[in-house]
């Protein structure tokens, strides 16, 4: 009996991943237990400045109208958006070329894989030498963090385009450039979105790390500065916002996939 319910809800929950109304109660209970544990442990063992749920909740109204916090959020978001836009354009172009041209793929595949495997943080000292301790170095880090997962996914998508589509287009004397833009790219969009989802998460990490390292104004620097001056509660509001962005990107991509590509199942990652 109970096994049956496992099976039913697992299949029902998968495509939507929306909470069924019956799930809400255990979720709330778990949330309350986690918060209570956190509160209790901090109260008993940690110094007073350490962030705990009650004090974080108390400073939220103050922090979210703080102009410093708002401008820091703005800087980081704009930088991430710019970086993702650059990474998307570059990634789509290189990815399409790589997916459709075996020669290009053979030449650059190992470099794309290699740079993808390189922990993006290690380029920070190099970028700080190249661009100085500026927001330019942050932008470069974000682009570097994001672009390779887009290239890899777009290339995979471009490779998976059904041959018939291209044959039909070719027999109607379509040019290669038009085939890339009007057939391969749309067909590769689900892959592009999957790549974008990865890239967005990596870009966010890249931005925060760059701000730590370069001391460039933004949400990461806001967290660093406040935690250094023992304003842990204020700093933690920044972490909450970052988590919200992370989840937000994730939900955005899931929503876009379902809205614009209802035929595409995202189970296969």
């Amino acid at each position: 009996m109970s096994q049956q319910t496992i099976g039913l809800t697992a299949t029902a929950a998968k495509p939507a991943s929306k909470p069924a109304s019956g799930d809400l109660v255990p979720r709330l209970i778990c949330g309350i237990v986690i918060l209570a544990l956190w509160e209790g442990v901090v109260r008993m063992f940690a110094p007073a400045y350490v962030a705990k749920p009650t004090t974080v909740a108390m400073v939220i109204p103050k922090v979210i109208v703080d102009p410093q916090f708002l401008s820091a959020t703005g800087y980081t978001l704009v930088a991430v958006a710019e970086g993702l836009a650059i990474a998307l354009v570059v990634g789509i172009v290189i990815g399409l070329l790589m997916g459709r041209s075996p020669a290009i793929e053979r030449v650059i595949r190992h470099y794309v894989n290699g740079f993808y495997a390189l922990p993006m943080i290690v380029v920070l000292p190099l970028f700080s030498l190249w661009f100085g301790y500026t927001s330019g170095a942050r932008l470069a880090t974000i682009v570097f963090a994001a672009v390779f997962s887009i290239i890899m996914n777009v290339a995979d998508g471009a490779r998976a385009v059904p041959k018939e589509y291209l044959e039909v287009a070719a027999s109607f004397r379509s040019t290669r450039a038009r085939m890339l833009a009007e057939i391969v790219l749309p067909a590769a969009t689900p892959y592009l979105l999957a790549g974008f989802r990865l890239a967005a998460g990596r870009a966010l990490i890249g931005a925060v790390v760059a701000e730590f390292f370069l001391s460039v104004g933004g949400l990461g620097y806001f967290i660093l500065f406040n935690s250094r001056t023992y304003h842990h509660n204020e700093a933690f509001v920044g972490v909450l916002l970052l988590a919200a962005f992370g989840v937000g990107f994730e939900l955005l991509v899931v929503w876009a996939t379902r809205r614009f590509m209802p035929w595409y199942r995202r189970d296969e990652k």
């Binding site: 697992a10 255990p26 979720r27 940690a46 190992h110 470099y111 290690v122 925060v208 935690s227 988590a243």
Partner: protein, 249 residues
């Protein structure tokens, strides 16, 4: 032999072109900006000979392995437990998802001010980076177990232990290994982040030190080494994943 050579020829040609490009770019710009391949290798050799490098390498490896193994020991069993105990899973899953999507680097300043500069806080950073992919993928795998499998096992009066050993574990292992592959990459990022922002040790310190001394050759040499380690670890992760995924296809 020649067949192997011919098959791998594009790879070697592509690598050779890359090195040539690097060399030319390095020679035609200032040394503070970029260092040619030959000078990078020379610097790397100097670092290896001077013993600094080997010591730092093992320092990093110790950090990486400790954090990663703890993440595995915690993540995989917890994932299985969550999969079997449905209310717990339903309750806790959204929070795991949230933590999975949160940039963990943002917690480093808190860890620094609470735990200071020792080895433990750095292990914690690597652990936090690595644990969620294992946990998330194990839960994902366990909840995709076909209910018929469990029903059949139950109707043959399988004990709880046998159910875990013969149904749950083999079924979820490939998923866990996907998580392991992702975790390897993340743990490497966590390792470098911990070495940058907590007490400077290991390969991270090597890069930081070189960058602060404007020793661009040293920066390139360390990045090159970490890149090679990253590629090798990713290969290893893929091999592990494919090894366990064989029967799934």
């Amino acid at each position: 032999m020649t067949a192997i050579l011919r098959r791998n020829a594009p790879f070697w040609i592509s690598i050779a072109c890359g090195i040539a490009l690097w060399e030319i770019a390095g020679r035609s710009t200032s040394a503070a900006f970029m260092v040619p391949f030959s000078a990078t290798m020379l610097r790397l050799w100097q670092l290896i000979v001077s013993d600094q490098f080997v010591e730092q390498f093992f320092d990093s490896a110790r950090l990486f392995l400790t954090g990663f193994v703890i993440a595995l020991i915690v993540g995989a069993p917890l994932g299985l437990l969550l999969a079997r105990v449905r209310p717990l899973r339903v309750g806790i899953e959204p929070y795991i998802m949230t933590l999975y999507a949160t940039p963990m680097v943002a917690l480093i300043p808190f860890i620094l001010s609470l735990m200071g500069f020792g080895f433990a806080p750095k292990v914690l950073v690597v652990f936090l980076f690595a644990v969620f992919p294992v946990l998330y993928n194990t839960v994902e795998g366990a909840r995709s177990i076909k209910p018929e499998l469990i029903e059949v096992a139950k109707s043959y009066r399988s004990s709880e232990w046998a159910l875990w050993r013969d149904v749950m574990l083999p079924y979820t292992l490939p998923y866990t290994m996907t998580g392991v592959r992702q975790s390897i990459g993340r743990a490497l990022v966590g390792m470098v982040a911990a070495e940058f922002f907590l007490s400077s040790t290991g390969l991270g310190q090597l890069i930081m030190g070189a960058s602060q001394n404007f020793d661009t050759g040293g920066v390139f040499a360390s990045i090159f080494v970490i890149g090679v380690i990253g590629v090798l670890l990713m290969r290893l992760g893929l091999m592990i994943e494919q090894h366990f995924a064989r029967w799934r296809q």
